[in-house]
Amino acid sequence: MRDTTTMVFLGRFVPESFAEFMRHRAARLSLEASFGTIGPERIEVEVGGDEDLIDMFEMACSLGPIDCLVLDIYREAQLR
Protein backbone atom coordinates (compact mmCIF):
# COMPACT_ATOMS: atom_id res chain seq x y z
CA MET A 1 0.00 0.00 0.00
CA ARG A 2 1.30 3.42 -0.95
CA ASP A 3 2.02 5.85 1.81
CA THR A 4 3.68 9.20 2.38
CA THR A 5 5.21 10.17 5.69
CA THR A 6 7.65 12.63 7.17
CA MET A 7 10.46 11.15 9.24
CA VAL A 8 12.43 13.10 11.76
CA PHE A 9 15.85 11.81 12.79
CA LEU A 10 17.42 13.16 15.96
CA GLY A 11 21.04 12.62 16.85
CA ARG A 12 24.50 13.81 15.90
CA PHE A 13 24.96 14.18 12.17
CA VAL A 14 27.40 15.20 9.52
CA PRO A 15 24.51 16.67 7.52
CA GLU A 16 25.90 16.09 3.99
CA SER A 17 26.89 12.54 4.87
CA PHE A 18 23.49 11.62 6.24
CA ALA A 19 21.70 13.32 3.35
CA GLU A 20 23.72 11.33 0.82
CA PHE A 21 23.04 8.15 2.77
CA MET A 22 19.31 8.87 2.67
CA ARG A 23 19.39 9.67 -1.05
CA HIS A 24 21.12 6.38 -1.81
CA ARG A 25 18.73 4.30 0.29
CA ALA A 26 15.67 6.07 -1.09
CA ALA A 27 16.87 5.41 -4.65
CA ARG A 28 17.61 1.76 -3.86
CA LEU A 29 14.10 1.35 -2.46
CA SER A 30 12.38 3.31 -5.25
CA LEU A 31 11.05 5.88 -2.79
CA GLU A 32 10.41 9.53 -3.46
CA ALA A 33 12.27 11.62 -0.93
CA SER A 34 12.15 15.33 -0.34
CA PHE A 35 14.39 16.82 2.29
CA GLY A 36 13.39 19.38 4.86
CA THR A 37 15.71 20.38 7.71
CA ILE A 38 19.21 18.95 7.27
CA GLY A 39 21.13 19.93 10.38
CA PRO A 40 23.76 18.59 12.77
CA GLU A 41 21.13 17.46 15.30
CA ARG A 42 17.93 17.13 13.29
CA ILE A 43 17.12 15.72 9.86
CA GLU A 44 13.68 15.81 8.27
CA VAL A 45 12.66 13.93 5.16
CA GLU A 46 9.34 13.23 3.50
CA VAL A 47 9.25 9.83 1.84
CA GLY A 48 6.60 8.37 -0.42
CA GLY A 49 6.17 4.84 -1.73
CA ASP A 50 5.20 1.36 -0.63
CA GLU A 51 4.75 1.30 3.15
CA ASP A 52 6.94 -1.79 3.54
CA LEU A 53 9.70 0.00 1.68
CA ILE A 54 9.25 3.08 3.86
CA ASP A 55 9.72 0.82 6.89
CA MET A 56 12.90 -0.53 5.30
CA PHE A 57 14.10 3.01 4.70
CA GLU A 58 13.60 3.85 8.36
CA MET A 59 15.49 0.74 9.43
CA ALA A 60 18.36 1.50 7.05
CA CYS A 61 18.59 5.13 8.16
CA SER A 62 18.43 4.17 11.83
CA LEU A 63 21.89 2.67 11.33
CA GLY A 64 23.11 5.57 9.23
CA PRO A 65 26.59 6.21 7.90
CA ILE A 66 29.62 5.63 10.14
CA ASP A 67 30.08 9.34 10.93
CA CYS A 68 26.51 9.85 12.18
CA LEU A 69 24.65 8.67 15.26
CA VAL A 70 20.86 8.34 15.24
CA LEU A 71 19.44 8.59 18.73
CA ASP A 72 15.73 8.75 17.94
CA ILE A 73 13.30 8.63 15.04
CA TYR A 74 9.78 9.99 14.85
CA ARG A 75 7.24 9.97 12.09
CA GLU A 76 4.97 12.91 11.45
CA ALA A 77 1.90 11.14 12.84
CA GLN A 78 3.72 10.47 16.11
CA LEU A 79 4.59 14.13 16.44
CA ARG A 80 1.02 15.36 16.27
Binding site: A27, R28, L29, S30, D50, D52, L53, M56
Partner: protein
Amino acid sequence: MSFSAGWYAVAIAGGLEPGTSAGTRLFDKELVIWRDKDGASHAWEDRCPHRGMRLSFGFVRGNHIACLYHGWQFDEAGQCRYIPAHPKLDVPDTIKVARYPSVEAKGLIWVYSEMVAEAPVPAPEDGAATPVRSLYLERDPATVGFIIENGGAGPFEILSDSLFATNVEGAELLVALQPFTDDRTALHIVITSGDIAPAKIAVWAEELRAVLETVRPISSGDALLAERFAS
Protein backbone atom coordinates in the same frame (compact mmCIF):
# COMPACT_ATOMS: atom_id res chain seq x y z
CA MET B 1 53.59 -7.56 -16.80
CA SER B 2 50.12 -6.26 -16.18
CA PHE B 3 46.71 -7.56 -17.06
CA SER B 4 44.07 -5.59 -18.89
CA ALA B 5 40.30 -5.73 -18.77
CA GLY B 6 39.12 -8.83 -20.54
CA TRP B 7 37.74 -12.34 -20.26
CA TYR B 8 39.27 -14.54 -17.58
CA ALA B 9 38.50 -18.13 -16.69
CA VAL B 10 37.34 -18.39 -13.08
CA ALA B 11 36.34 -22.04 -12.73
CA ILE B 12 36.05 -25.39 -14.44
CA ALA B 13 32.46 -25.44 -15.68
CA GLY B 14 31.79 -29.05 -14.74
CA GLY B 15 32.79 -28.34 -11.16
CA LEU B 16 29.76 -26.11 -10.64
CA GLU B 17 26.75 -28.38 -10.45
CA PRO B 18 23.16 -27.19 -10.96
CA GLY B 19 21.77 -25.81 -7.72
CA THR B 20 25.14 -24.83 -6.27
CA SER B 21 27.10 -21.63 -5.71
CA ALA B 22 30.75 -20.83 -5.05
CA GLY B 23 32.83 -17.80 -4.28
CA THR B 24 35.87 -16.71 -6.23
CA ARG B 25 37.94 -13.60 -6.86
CA LEU B 26 39.08 -11.75 -9.93
CA PHE B 27 41.59 -8.93 -9.38
CA ASP B 28 40.60 -9.21 -5.70
CA LYS B 29 36.96 -8.45 -6.47
CA GLU B 30 34.68 -10.97 -4.83
CA LEU B 31 32.39 -12.89 -7.17
CA VAL B 32 29.72 -15.50 -6.66
CA ILE B 33 29.35 -18.02 -9.43
CA TRP B 34 26.23 -20.14 -9.32
CA ARG B 35 24.32 -22.50 -11.56
CA ASP B 36 20.53 -22.52 -11.67
CA LYS B 37 18.36 -25.62 -11.97
CA ASP B 38 18.10 -25.18 -15.74
CA GLY B 39 21.89 -25.36 -16.00
CA ALA B 40 22.76 -21.73 -16.73
CA SER B 41 25.73 -20.31 -14.85
CA HIS B 42 25.91 -16.77 -13.48
CA ALA B 43 28.73 -14.54 -12.20
CA TRP B 44 27.73 -11.69 -9.92
CA GLU B 45 29.19 -9.42 -7.31
CA ASP B 46 29.34 -11.58 -4.18
CA ARG B 47 27.27 -9.22 -2.11
CA CYS B 48 23.60 -9.13 -1.21
CA PRO B 49 22.29 -5.57 -1.73
CA HIS B 50 20.41 -5.84 1.56
CA ARG B 51 23.10 -6.23 4.22
CA GLY B 52 26.20 -7.10 2.24
CA MET B 53 26.28 -10.83 3.05
CA ARG B 54 28.19 -12.97 0.55
CA LEU B 55 25.70 -14.56 -1.83
CA SER B 56 28.13 -17.45 -2.28
CA PHE B 57 27.03 -18.53 1.21
CA GLY B 58 23.44 -18.62 -0.01
CA PHE B 59 21.26 -21.33 -1.46
CA VAL B 60 20.09 -21.85 -5.01
CA ARG B 61 16.31 -22.24 -5.09
CA GLY B 62 15.27 -23.28 -8.60
CA ASN B 63 16.43 -20.47 -10.83
CA HIS B 64 16.84 -18.04 -7.95
CA ILE B 65 19.66 -17.63 -5.47
CA ALA B 66 18.66 -16.86 -1.88
CA CYS B 67 20.82 -14.94 0.55
CA LEU B 68 21.77 -16.91 3.65
CA TYR B 69 21.15 -13.92 5.92
CA HIS B 70 17.50 -12.88 5.40
CA GLY B 71 16.44 -15.07 2.49
CA TRP B 72 16.12 -12.38 -0.15
CA GLN B 73 15.82 -14.17 -3.49
CA PHE B 74 17.25 -12.97 -6.80
CA ASP B 75 16.36 -14.19 -10.27
CA GLU B 76 18.72 -14.96 -13.17
CA ALA B 77 18.92 -11.27 -14.06
CA GLY B 78 19.97 -10.31 -10.53
CA GLN B 79 16.58 -8.78 -9.78
CA CYS B 80 15.25 -9.29 -6.25
CA ARG B 81 11.97 -11.23 -6.52
CA TYR B 82 11.10 -12.21 -2.99
CA ILE B 83 11.67 -10.84 0.50
CA PRO B 84 10.48 -13.31 3.15
CA ALA B 85 9.80 -10.59 5.73
CA HIS B 86 7.53 -8.82 3.21
CA PRO B 87 5.97 -11.68 1.23
CA LYS B 88 3.33 -9.50 -0.44
CA LEU B 89 5.73 -6.78 -1.46
CA ASP B 90 6.10 -6.04 -5.16
CA VAL B 91 9.88 -5.66 -5.01
CA PRO B 92 11.06 -2.57 -6.91
CA ASP B 93 13.40 -2.91 -9.90
CA THR B 94 16.07 -0.94 -8.06
CA ILE B 95 16.84 -3.83 -5.69
CA LYS B 96 19.20 -6.02 -7.70
CA VAL B 97 22.65 -7.54 -7.65
CA ALA B 98 25.47 -6.20 -9.82
CA ARG B 99 26.46 -8.73 -12.49
CA TYR B 100 29.45 -9.50 -14.65
CA PRO B 101 29.23 -10.77 -18.23
CA SER B 102 29.99 -14.50 -18.23
CA VAL B 103 30.03 -17.41 -20.67
CA GLU B 104 30.99 -21.05 -20.71
CA ALA B 105 33.50 -22.15 -23.34
CA LYS B 106 36.10 -24.88 -23.64
CA GLY B 107 34.94 -26.44 -20.39
CA LEU B 108 35.56 -23.26 -18.38
CA ILE B 109 33.47 -20.44 -16.95
CA TRP B 110 34.77 -17.11 -18.23
CA VAL B 111 34.01 -13.74 -16.70
CA TYR B 112 34.60 -10.32 -18.18
CA SER B 113 36.59 -8.46 -15.55
CA GLU B 114 34.57 -5.25 -15.59
CA MET B 115 31.01 -4.78 -14.39
CA VAL B 116 29.45 -3.75 -17.68
CA ALA B 117 26.13 -4.62 -19.30
CA GLU B 118 27.89 -6.10 -22.30
CA ALA B 119 31.56 -6.94 -22.75
CA PRO B 120 33.20 -4.74 -25.41
CA VAL B 121 35.22 -7.64 -26.78
CA PRO B 122 34.00 -11.04 -27.98
CA ALA B 123 33.83 -13.86 -25.47
CA PRO B 124 36.15 -16.86 -25.86
CA GLU B 125 35.01 -19.32 -28.53
CA ASP B 126 33.62 -22.62 -27.43
CA GLY B 127 35.28 -25.92 -28.27
CA ALA B 128 35.61 -29.45 -27.00
CA ALA B 129 37.63 -29.77 -23.83
CA THR B 130 38.09 -32.23 -21.01
CA PRO B 131 38.48 -30.56 -17.63
CA VAL B 132 41.50 -31.53 -15.55
CA ARG B 133 41.75 -29.35 -12.48
CA SER B 134 42.26 -25.89 -11.06
CA LEU B 135 45.41 -24.88 -9.21
CA TYR B 136 45.57 -22.08 -6.66
CA LEU B 137 49.10 -20.73 -6.42
CA GLU B 138 50.62 -18.70 -3.61
CA ARG B 139 52.24 -16.30 -6.03
CA ASP B 140 51.21 -13.06 -7.68
CA PRO B 141 49.61 -13.24 -11.14
CA ALA B 142 52.17 -11.02 -12.86
CA THR B 143 55.08 -13.22 -11.80
CA VAL B 144 53.26 -16.42 -12.72
CA GLY B 145 52.43 -15.02 -16.16
CA PHE B 146 56.01 -13.77 -16.59
CA ILE B 147 57.49 -17.16 -15.79
CA ILE B 148 55.14 -19.00 -18.16
CA GLU B 149 55.65 -16.50 -20.99
CA ASN B 150 59.42 -16.65 -20.69
CA GLY B 151 59.82 -20.39 -20.59
CA GLY B 152 60.56 -20.70 -16.91
CA ALA B 153 58.00 -23.49 -16.55
CA GLY B 154 58.59 -25.29 -19.83
CA PRO B 155 57.46 -24.58 -23.38
CA PHE B 156 54.13 -22.76 -23.65
CA GLU B 157 52.46 -21.12 -26.62
CA ILE B 158 51.24 -17.69 -25.58
CA LEU B 159 47.66 -17.18 -26.75
CA SER B 160 47.09 -14.06 -24.65
CA ASP B 161 48.33 -12.53 -21.38
CA SER B 162 46.23 -15.05 -19.49
CA LEU B 163 45.84 -18.02 -21.81
CA PHE B 164 48.55 -20.51 -22.69
CA ALA B 165 48.76 -23.79 -24.61
CA THR B 166 51.18 -26.63 -24.18
CA ASN B 167 51.64 -30.27 -25.06
CA VAL B 168 52.07 -33.00 -22.48
CA GLU B 169 52.70 -36.54 -23.71
CA GLY B 170 50.86 -35.86 -26.95
CA ALA B 171 47.88 -34.15 -25.34
CA GLU B 172 47.13 -30.50 -26.11
CA LEU B 173 46.35 -28.48 -23.00
CA LEU B 174 44.95 -25.04 -22.34
CA VAL B 175 46.09 -23.30 -19.19
CA ALA B 176 43.97 -20.27 -18.27
CA LEU B 177 45.35 -17.83 -15.70
CA GLN B 178 42.99 -16.14 -13.24
CA PRO B 179 44.41 -13.09 -11.43
CA PHE B 180 42.86 -14.03 -8.09
CA THR B 181 44.30 -11.40 -5.76
CA ASP B 182 47.48 -9.33 -5.70
CA ASP B 183 49.39 -12.31 -4.32
CA ARG B 184 47.42 -15.36 -5.43
CA THR B 185 46.86 -16.85 -8.86
CA ALA B 186 44.56 -19.57 -10.12
CA LEU B 187 45.26 -21.73 -13.15
CA HIS B 188 42.52 -23.72 -14.84
CA ILE B 189 43.66 -26.62 -16.99
CA VAL B 190 41.70 -28.45 -19.69
CA ILE B 191 42.68 -31.00 -22.35
CA THR B 192 41.68 -29.84 -25.83
CA SER B 193 42.91 -32.85 -27.79
CA GLY B 194 44.76 -36.10 -27.33
CA ASP B 195 44.00 -39.33 -25.60
CA ILE B 196 45.42 -39.11 -22.13
CA ALA B 197 43.97 -39.75 -18.69
CA PRO B 198 43.15 -36.49 -16.87
CA ALA B 199 44.75 -38.01 -13.75
CA LYS B 200 48.08 -38.08 -15.57
CA ILE B 201 47.75 -34.39 -16.41
CA ALA B 202 46.80 -33.72 -12.79
CA VAL B 203 50.20 -35.08 -11.74
CA TRP B 204 51.88 -32.84 -14.32
CA ALA B 205 49.83 -29.94 -12.96
CA GLU B 206 51.20 -30.48 -9.45
CA GLU B 207 54.72 -30.33 -10.84
CA LEU B 208 53.80 -27.15 -12.70
CA ARG B 209 52.52 -25.66 -9.44
CA ALA B 210 55.79 -26.49 -7.67
CA VAL B 211 57.81 -24.81 -10.42
CA LEU B 212 55.61 -21.72 -10.61
CA GLU B 213 55.69 -21.21 -6.85
CA THR B 214 59.47 -21.58 -6.53
CA VAL B 215 61.19 -20.46 -9.74
CA ARG B 216 62.92 -17.14 -9.37
CA PRO B 217 62.47 -14.96 -12.44
CA ILE B 218 65.59 -12.98 -13.33
CA SER B 219 65.53 -10.38 -16.03
CA SER B 220 68.81 -9.93 -17.88
CA GLY B 221 68.34 -7.46 -20.68
CA ASP B 222 65.66 -8.94 -22.89
CA ALA B 223 66.34 -12.46 -21.73
CA LEU B 224 64.87 -14.26 -18.80
CA LEU B 225 66.76 -16.77 -16.79
CA ALA B 226 64.76 -18.90 -14.45
CA GLU B 227 66.42 -20.61 -11.60
CA ARG B 228 65.15 -22.54 -8.66
CA PHE B 229 65.54 -21.16 -5.20
CA ALA B 230 68.40 -22.89 -3.49
CA SER B 231 66.94 -25.38 -1.06
